[in-house]
Symmetry: C2
Amino acid sequence: MNTPARSIIVTIGDELLLGRTVDSNAAWLADRLTVLGLSVARIETIGDDTERIRDAVSRARSDSALVVTTGGLGPTDDDRTLDAVTAALDGRTPDLEVDNPRGVEAARWFAPEGEYGAVLVLPGPPREMTALFPKTETAIRRALEDRLGSVHTRTIATTGIPESRLAPRVQPLIDDLDGVAVAFLPDLQGVDLRLTVRDRPDGEAQTLLDSAEQSISEVVRPYRVSAPSGDVVEALTEALVDRGWTVAVAESCTGGGIGERLTRRPGASRAFLGGIIAYSNAIKRDLLGVPEDLITEHGAVSEPVAKAMAEGVCAAVGADCGIGISGIAGPDGGSPGKPVGTVCFSATTPDGASVATQGFRGDRDAVRRRSAQAAMVQLLRRVEGGS
Amino acid sequence: MNTPARSIIVTIGDELLLGRTVDSNAAWLADRLTVLGLSVARIETIGDDTERIRDAVSRARSDSALVVTTGGLGPTDDDRTLDAVTAALDGRTPDLEVDNPRGVEAARWFAPEGEYGAVLVLPGPPREMTALFPKTETAIRRALEDRLGSVHTRTIATTGIPESRLAPRVQPLIDDLDGVAVAFLPDLQGVDLRLTVRDRPDGEAQTLLDSAEQSISEVVRPYRVSAPSGDVVEALTEALVDRGWTVAVAESCTGGGIGERLTRRPGASRAFLGGIIAYSNAIKRDLLGVPEDLITEHGAVSEPVAKAMAEGVCAAVGADCGIGISGIAGPDGGSPGKPVGTVCFSATTPDGASVATQGFRGDRDAVRRRSAQAAMVQLLRRVEGGS
């Protein structure tokens, strides 16, 4: 088996060194290069300085098969990347230019024959960079063919189970299959499993990936996100559209965050009608029809109130399905019985209602994001026909 | 005037090279180091590999006064930073350990006397790292006293005007003042001005910063965000609390994003009651009381509808102030008269209502964020007593 070819990412811009911009390009590129079969050995961020850019590119080329730069292009004085890369390549002109559908500056591809490090120069604005990179993948593959070998990957998205519980159940099943590797890739929304097969013909690789997927399917099923993007929002919207159901949200601790997520993708209006942000108890009572004595008896953060919120928003809005959520996002407001991080949520469909209480870890932001995700997953499982 | 001492940030973790985690630590640290008076010459991201970490730290020390590392600490096999840093410093033990209030691993500070690069080792989880760094600032200042000189900065947050229009009006006024430098720091929410005075005694520096602030105050006033954090949400909440007013939101294109932002900080309930997410026209009509013929005549994306939404949510919820927002976030749904990016919004207070229409640039996400920000600013200006 080949070792993966090494790549190095160089992101360029004074704004990155001043800490004004979080560098999202590096992570996006690292993910794509990994899927292409390259390993990312290093990410380096430097300022808009011709000499430093030239040095960084020269050093990176001596140590990797591919160097990708972002930023520092374009018509202003700050934009020095192209001069610097040309200098690092002794005056060479690009082997390929790819027009930018969302901006002015093209992508440039330098692949000196017989030499080591090829260089891909991309613009810095993320929406331009992400549109251009895929158009260069064929060139990258061709130039690095010998080094890359063939790589087949398949990603299985899960949510609702931490890596520490998922990995010990999945890893042994994969270890039994010769030639398949698995990586566990966690973030705030869940854990992706990436299955990888290297250096096998297409058909054989697909058969291996199918067996791997099959052998872990039972363990993974309760947590799997079926959407191609691995995004619960996409899976939920498509599942609702399939059933011809609409949805509305009643949000307290998340303050509108579930609605915001459900409308982040275009086409949300095929299922999403809207909702009520019931931050105050008066709104829970007056607009959602949650009985006052339910709040008095159980507290605003309780399963009966979450359920009444979900049912109330369905009635108010005329939706088929509802999400109700109420919790203690912190940092204050916790009590011994209901510590910070306690969130109650409920999902209703025409078939009935589910309720749950969970304790979420992390700061205010993490509690809000994680609980929003859990509530959407709860509804997804109901709509998919589970409990 | 001293040139600022150079620093280098090294972030460590295989997950960063796989592109699974966006590195927010680097930007946070770069901002703080800049405010301390250091320049950040480079940010380098590497994997959990002892030899690579040692090499990166050694190289960085030879080239800077301060090296800050994050990540790769802690009890698992992957965590190799401390061994590697100790090796890079020839076995030296830390000069200072600072306990971690939010986790297990302490911060370690190495300041070899008479040598060049001091090293600060921080844990990777952002909430631990951001809690620990401020506790090390005194040690950094003391160790780098000769190199840092004194630095006094003041940040003035603005919103609602792009850097390209603000800079030509502000820069000449600052150029007239000897010893004050200004940097323009833009992001999606607005542009911060950072005024810097180096190597002057405290009193003199403050006087200089006061004059600078005074001389640009007239130009900046219409766009200034008064909150200490520079965050419009904080400014708006405090302004509402000052006047004893409550607020509710009626959101269409933002889908709950304004409510989500208004509740991101603890204490939001002092002013924020909740709102209605009126993604469908039926909700605009039934829950917000927007007259059907207003929608038919002007369209859902129109100033009269935005105003009726703001007034409707105040009435429905019993709030003093309201925000109504309706727009075309894209990528579809635009027309020649109302292209993608067109957003109408309205702010009402007990003193009356404002309405506006703006064309926002960028993709769906950018249009939603920018328009949410503009709508909150519109209400802030009204509550502050402007128009």
